[in-house]
Amino acid sequence: MNVEREGDYITLSMGPHHPATHGVLRLEVTTDGEVIRACKPDIGYLHRSIEKIGEFLEWYQFVPYTDRVDYVCSMNSNHAWVCAVETLLACSEETKLAIPERAEYIRILFAELNRISSHMVGLGSMTMDMGAFTPFLHALSQREFINDIFEKTCGARLTYNYMCVGGLVRDLHPGAEEEIRAMLKGLERAMIDFNRLISSNNIFKARLAGVAAVSAEDAVSYGLVGPNLRGSGIDFDLRRDKPYGLYGRFQFEVPVGKAYAGSEGRLGDCYDRYVVRLLEVLESIRICRQALDQMPPASGVEDDPVGGWCVAKAAQKALRKPPVGEVYFRCENPRGETGYHIVSDGTKFPYRIKIRTGSFTAMSIFEKLVPGLMIADLVALIGSFDIVLPEVDR
C-alpha cells in the first residue's frame, strides 16, 4: 500500500453489522474516495469453539454441531463428519461398518439438494448485493421447496441433524421420490427465469465483469476451494477426482470459469464465480435425478444392506471403542472443500477435531485482492465468494 498522506484517506469500518457482509464480518477498509486502498478482514465475531466442544462429546453427538458449522448447507456438513468417522472406523476390521446402499444414495441425494439450496442463497444474496431484490426472492422461494422436502423427511428446515454414523436417522418419507422429481422440474424452469431476469442483465454483467479477478496461481496459493477455485479455471472437484461415498457412480460435468462475461470479463472474475455456481446447480439436478433412478427401493428393514437406512447397532458398538489414529477426510461442500481432521485415542470421545472450511481460507485473499477496487466492487467480491460467517469462525 502506497500511502502518500495519511489525511487523504478515510478509514471505514465495514461491519460487523453491514448488510453486505453476510453476517458478522468486519472489514477495516481504507478508502481514497470510492477506491479502496487497503482492506483488513477482522473475523471472530461468531466463534463458538465448536472444535473444542467436540472433544467433550461422544462421536455421534457431534453431528448437530456440524449443522452449525455451516448452517446454509447442514446436510453437507453432516455428510463430511459422518464420512470422516466412518473412515476412522474402517481403519480396523472389527469396527468397519457396512453402510446400506440406499442410505448412501439418500446421503448423496440430500447433499446435492442442499448444495442447490445453498447455491440459491449464494446466488440470490449476490443479486441483492447488486441492488436487485426481486431475483433474491425468486431464488429463496426455490430453496423453500427444498426445505419443505427436508422438513418432511427429517423434521427441520435449517439444522437437519439427519445423517448419523452408520447411515441416516430415518428413511425418506413416503412419496419423497415423486416430490423431489417434481421439485427438480420446477427448479429447472425457475432457473431459466432467474437467468433471463438477472444473470444475462447487462447492468449485472457490467457490475461483475472483470472485477476482482483471481488468477489460477493465486487461487491455488491462497487456498481457495470449490466454486471460487473453479471460477479461476482450475478443473478440480473432489466428487469427481477423489470420489467419496458413491460419487464414482454418477455422470456429471465440473463447470469451470471461462471469462463468461464476454469481452470485458477476465478469467476468475466475480461473474465467473457466479456462473460456475449457476452451472453447478444444473449439474446437481442431474446428480439428483441419477440418484433417484439408481436408488434401491426401501426394504423397510433398518439395517438391510441394500434397502435399509442405518446400521445403528453396529455403529453404537464400534463407536464405543474406535481404532486409535488420525483421519483427515475432505468433502466437496457448496462452499468448496471442507476437511474434518479427527484424532482418536481409542476412547468414545474424540481426542481432537479440526475443521478446515472454504470460507475461512477465502478471507485470506481479501488483503491482496481488494486494493484498487471500489466499495461497490468489494460488496460484489464478498457476494461472489459466497462466504458464510459461522463457517469462518466455527
Binding site: 441492488g131 425468486h138 444473470s199 452451472l279 471500489m374
Partner: protein
C-alpha cells in the same frame, strides 16, 4: 391591488368576496388555495398511496402477496384503543360485533384483505418515532436538509400545468425555472450526508452530488431541445404546440413527431431517473453498500420527509415527461370535448389526465426499480457523459436540421389551443414525417444490427443457462 394566478383563482376570489370577505383578503385566500392545493391535495396523498402501490407492485413481481393485515386487524386495534378499560376478551367481542355489521363489516374485510391499513400504520409509525439527531452531527444542517429536500420537489410544482386554467403560474421561462429548482435535491442530499457525522452518509451525499450534477446536463439539453422544437420556454406553450385537432390527438405529441424526439424522450427519462435517485441509480441510498446512504441517521418524520420528497420528485419527473413529450394534460383521444367544457370542469378533467400520465410514469419507475440491479458510480458517470450527452447533442442537431428542412418545405404554423396561441412551430407533413422515421429509424436499426453482429457469440454454457440449449 389585484393578485391573481389565473381564472381559477379569480373565480375562487369572487366566491369569497361575494360572501362578505374584503377583496384583498379573498384574493390572498384564493391564491393560497390554488397554490397549496396541488401540493397538499395531490402530491402529499399520492406520495402516501404510491408507496402502498409500490409495495404491491414489488410483491406481484416477487410472487408474494405484499401488504396485508393479518389476524390482528384494524378493528381490533381501534377497539383496543377505545375500550381500553374493558378486559381483552370483551374488546375482542366488541370488535367481532363491529365486523359482523352489514356494510361496514364487508368494507373492513376488504380493507384488511388488501392491506390498506398498512398506509395508515406507516404514517402513524412515522409520526410516533423519536426524532433523533446523532451525536456530533451538525444540528442545523441536519434538520434543515429535510426541508430543503421538500422545497426542491414542491417548488417545481409552482409552474406545473395541471390544466390550461389551473396552475400556480406560467412564467415565460418556466423550463429554465424547472432546471433551477430541481437542482436543490443535490444540495439537500449533500447537506444530509455531510451533517450526519457518519461516513456512510457522507459517501451517499458525495455520490448523489456527483451523479445529479452530471445528469443535469442531459436533462437540461433535453428540455432545451423540446423548447427549441416548440419555440417557447413556457410549459403551457409547449403543451399548446402539441395540440392536434380531431379524435387522434395523440398524433400531435412530441413523442411521435420524430424518431429523434422519441430517442430524446428515452434520454430524458433515464436522466430523470438518476435525478430523483431511483434504481438503477439509487447509489446515494445503496442499501447493500452504504447501509442507507444519506438518510441512514434520519428517523421518524424527518426520514418520512425525504421519502415524500422522493415520491414528489418521481411524480414531478413523470409530470414533466408528460408535459414535454406526451402532450401534457391533453387527452389522447380528442381534445375538443374537454376544451368546450366550462373552465372549472375542464380544469378537473385535465388535472386528472395530467396526474394519470404522471402516475403511469411513476408506475414504470417502480417496475424498473424492482427489476434492475444498481450501477456502480463510474458506470453511472460513463453513462451520462459518454452516452446520454452525445445522444442528446445528436438529437439537438438532428432536430434542428429537421426543423430547418421542414420549415423550407411546409413552412411554420401557429397552433390555436383553447386560450393559447402557440409560438410558430413546424408541423411536419406526412412526407417529411414518414421520411424522417424511415431515415433515422433505419439508421438506428442498422447500428443496433451491427452491434449485435459484432458481439462475440455466447458461450454454450450461457446458452444452456438461458434455456436455449439443452445439456
Amino acid at each position: 391591488m389585484t393578485i391573481s394566478v389565473g381564472p381559477v383563482s379569480d373565480s375562487i376570489a369572487s366566491w369569497f368576496s361575494l360572501r362578505g370577505l374584503p377583496l384583498a383578503l379573498s384574493e390572498i385566500l384564493a391564491v393560497l388555495v390554488v397554490c397549496v392545493l396541488p401540493v397538499v391535495g395531490i402530491v402529499f396523498p399520492i406520495a402516501g398511496v404510491a408507496q402502498y402501490f409500490e409495495r404491491k407492485i414489488a410483491a406481484s413481481m416477487q410472487r408474494r402477496k405484499g401488504p396485508m393485515v393479518g389476524a390482528v386487524g384494524i378493528v381490533d386495534l381501534v377497539a383496543d384503543m377505545l375500550l381500553f378499560w374493558l378486559p381483552r376478551w370483551k374488546r375482542r367481542a366488541a370488535a367481532r360485533r363491529v365486523e359482523r355489521l352489514p356494510v361496514l363489516g364487508a368494507l373492513l374485510r376488504q380493507v384488511r384483505q388488501w392491506g390498506l391499513g398498512s398506509m395508515a400504520a406507516d404514517g402513524v409509525k412515522m409520526f410516533l418515532k423519536e426524532d433523533m439527531v446523532p451525536g456530533g452531527a451538525d444540528r442545523f444542517l441536519f434538520r434543515g436538509s429535510t426541508y430543503l429536500a421538500l422545497t426542491g420537489a414542491f417548488l417545481a410544482f409552482a409552474v406545473f400545468p395541471f390544466s390550461q386554467w389551473y396552475h400556480m403560474g406560467d412564467p415565460p421561462v418556466a423550463a429554465l425555472y424547472l432546471g433551477a429548482v430541481t437542482g436543490l435535491v443535490a444540495v439537500s442530499i449533500l447537506e444530509a450526508g455531510w451533517s450526519s457525522n457518519n461516513k456512510w452518509s457522507y459517501f451517499g451525499g458525495i455520490r448523489a452530488v456527483a451523479m445529479i450534477v452530471s445528469y443535469e446536463t442531459p436533462i437540461a439539453l433535453a428540455i432545451a431541445i423540446v423548447c427549441m422544437w416548440s419555440g417557447t420556454m413556457s410549459l403551457q406553450g409547449i403543451i399548446a404546440a402539441q395540440y392536434h385537432p380531431g379524435w387522434f390527438s395523440f398524433a400531435g405529441w412530441n413523442l411521435f413527431q420524430s424518431p429523434l424526439l422519441t430517442l430524446l424522450a428515452g434520454v430524458y427519462y433515464i436522466a430523470a431517473l438518476a435525478e430523483c435517485n431511483r434504481a438503477p441509480f439509487d447509489l446515494s441510498e445503496g442499501e447493500s453498500e452504504l447501509v442507507g446512504g444519506f438518510h441512514t441517521e434520519y428517523s421518524g418524520l424527518r426520514w418520512g420527509l425525504f421519502f415524500i420528497a422522493e415520491y414528489g420528485d418521481m411524480l414531478l419527473v413523470g409530470g414533466i415527461f408528460a408535459t414535454l413529450f406526451l402532450g401534457g394534460f391533453q387527452s389522447p383521444i380528442g381534445e375538443q370535448w374537454i376544451v368546450s367544457l366550462p373552465p372549472f370542469a375542464e380544469a378537473v378533467v385535465h388535472t386528472l389526465i395530467a396526474v394519470a400520465k404522471a402516475l403511469a410514469s411513476v408506475g414504470f419507475m417502480m417496475w424498473i426499480r424492482w427489476t434492475l440491479p444498481r450501477f456502480r458510480i463510474d458506470q453511472v458517470m460513463k453513462l451520462a457523459w459518454t452516452k446520454l450527452v452525445p445522444l442528446a447533442l445528436f438529437c439537438l442537431f438532428g432536430l434542428a436540421l429537421t426543423q430547418l428542412v421542414a420549415a423550407q418545405r411546409v413552412g411554420v404554423v401557429q397552433v390555436v389551443y383553447g386560450r393559447y396561441l402557440s409560438a410558430p412551430v413546424v408541423r411536419l407533413d406526412l412526407f417529411s414525417w414518414f421520411s424522417s422515421w424511415v431515415l433515422v429509424g433505419g439508421a438506428i436499426g442498422i447500428v443496433v444490427w451491427m452491434a449485435k453482429r459484432a458481439a462475440p457469440a455466447q458461450a454454450p454454457e450461457m446458452r444452456r443457462l438461458l434455456g436455449k440449449e439443452s445439456a
